[in-house]
Amino acid sequence: MSVENTQPQVGDDTQQKQVTLKIWRGDASGGKFVDYTLDYLDGEVVLDAVHRVQSEQAPDLGVRWNCKAGKCGSCSSEINGKPSLMCMTRMSTLDLEEPITVSPMRTFPIIKDLVTDVSFNFEVAKKIPALQPKPREKDGTYRMSQIDIDRGQEFRKCIECFLCQNVCHVIRDHEENKPNFAGPRFLMRIAELEMHPLDTLDRRRYAFDVMGVGYCNITKCCTEVCPEHIHITDNAIIPLKERVVDVRFDPVAWLGRTILRRPKPTSSEEVIKLTPAGRSANTPS
């Protein structure tokens, strides 16, 4: 076969398939969807196609990515309205007959085009006091049993793509809740610490009073979009809600603690002292 024959011909069976990407272009001053039509190439993921738009048609297109392997969590976006990683969504799984919309995460402030400012999540992370480990054993080590860390290991798979934070209607649809609600990724972080065999801090009241676990209505969208398939709701948030019930809503548990003289649950004020804001308030200037 000669080289010329591999070129697509009009009316030929091997005619090159075309796809249209509808990509959101804009910044804080406004934006709109712009259509880009390009050749469909077998085996591509959405991120590949977006990159080809960037190199062939729109060199100023803003898109964030790093690993192209679903591991860095940078390429989060909404593809045909579904929060997804661009690098893990195969073009072949989408309906190519119609334009494919690619838009930025709609819960965070826009920087440019597909790039959003996800610093909300970093601020929330600061609200969670780090592990407060118990004293080392006599030989200077820490020991943990495998069965004690199994649960937490599921949560360590998180790649911090923040798709769960983006889809969660508590802040997506109600901006005013942002200061009062940590979001699924960070409720999971608290659950992980509460299940940590070495940790000594009790964050249960704090989880309700400050991190807002009560806002979650367990409708499970975080679980639905998580690219790591972490059972965020079933294994982290609901167990956390049940722990909160122990210290806040269960009179029998309260009676039990009182009669058996068990330690009181730690107040939120105590936990706040361990956060950056609490620490700076306590440092004499």
Binding site: G31, D199, D209, G212, E242
Partner: protein, 285 residues
């Protein structure tokens, strides 16, 4: 003790920025192209169908016991038997002769509160009845309209939804009811001339099994049996039950929620058919 006030009166330990311009089209523009409405619609119809049937069954106040045709079948809607209407086999429980309304009413309060506060049913009715959210990345009803009363969202932090936190108490009663329905399944083997088994017996045995599978897969049960512990290594048997039994059932909680719901209505309907003489219950031995 427990306060039912969720308003975080504690200071926010890290400042969170609000109200910056977001990317993408307005939230009112639903970009999902799949049939995102199909699941909430199906669940809405399924639950509504059950509500309609259960209302009829509960108000029927008749033909809930098949003793008149020689079968010890008691509809789960009317179990335990509170009045004196289940006496043909000496199957007397209550003696509530003063009770004028349908005996199903005081009974159904317990399973109803259990299922209403169940984490799975909460998800399903928050999505399909309350539309909060109807589906993932689809806005909460009213949240895109500035004037809507549904614009504010407090999740399960305020009255009345904060009472969802009593779920574990409804579970305690649910265990008692599962025991009663197990008794009914055993009683269904009792025929006038000794032990036997009819089609109805089989239906009641399956009913009891499904109720147990649903009740023991409950998230509160999962917490109480061991999930609430920080470390498992010092509680081997609880870990065993948590891991191999309750968590396994919990993974299929949604399935058992639907199967047991359907089957309870079916068991009632079958009892009604047999008791009214509409069909003859085939006897296997």
């Amino acid at each position: 003790m427990t306060t039912l006030n969720a308003e975080p009166d504690t200071p926010v330990p890290v400042g969170i920025e609000k109200n910056r311009v977001r990317g993408g089209p307005p939230r009112s523009e639903i970009l999902r192209r799949d049939k995102w409405w199909a699941q909430p619609l199906a669940i809405f119809s399924g639950l509504l169908a059950f509500i309609v049937y259960a209302t009829w069954a509960a108000l029927r106040n008749g033909h809930f016991y098949a003793g008149n045709v020689g079968r010890d079948y008691l509809s789960p809607f009317y179990s335990p038997c509170l009045t004196n209407s289940c006496t043909s086999n000496g199957y007397v429980w209550g003696g509530w002769t003063w009770w004028r309304l349908s005996p199903a009413i005081p009974i159904l309060i317990f399973p109803l509160s259990f299922r209403l506060s169940c984490y799975y049913y909460r998800k399903s009715y928050y999505r399909s009845f309350w539309l909060s959210p109807p589906s993932c990345a689809v806005p909460d009803a009213g949240s895109t309209k500035a004037k809507s009363p549904r614009n504010k969202y407090s999740g399960e932090t305020k009255f009345p939804l904060i009472f969802q936190n009593i779920h574990r108490y409804t579970w305690y009663f649910a265990v008692i009811f599962a025991g009663i329905l197990t008794f009914d399944a055993v009683a269904a083997f009792r025929f006038h001339n000794g032990i036997g088994m009819g089609l109805g017996t089989l239906i009641f045995v399956v009913n009891a099994l499904l109720i147990w599978a649903y009740t023991l897969g409950c998230h509160s049960c999962r917490h109480l049996c061991g999930g609430g512990l920080r470390t498992f290594s010092s509680a081997n048997s609880r870990h065993f039950i948590w891991k191999n039994f309750v968590s396994k059932l919990n993974e299929h909680h949604q399935l058992f929620a639907w199967l047991s719901l359907f089957w309870i209505a079916f068991a009632d309907f079958y009892t009604w058919l047999v008791a009214t003489g509409a069909i003859h219950d085939p006897r296997f031995f």
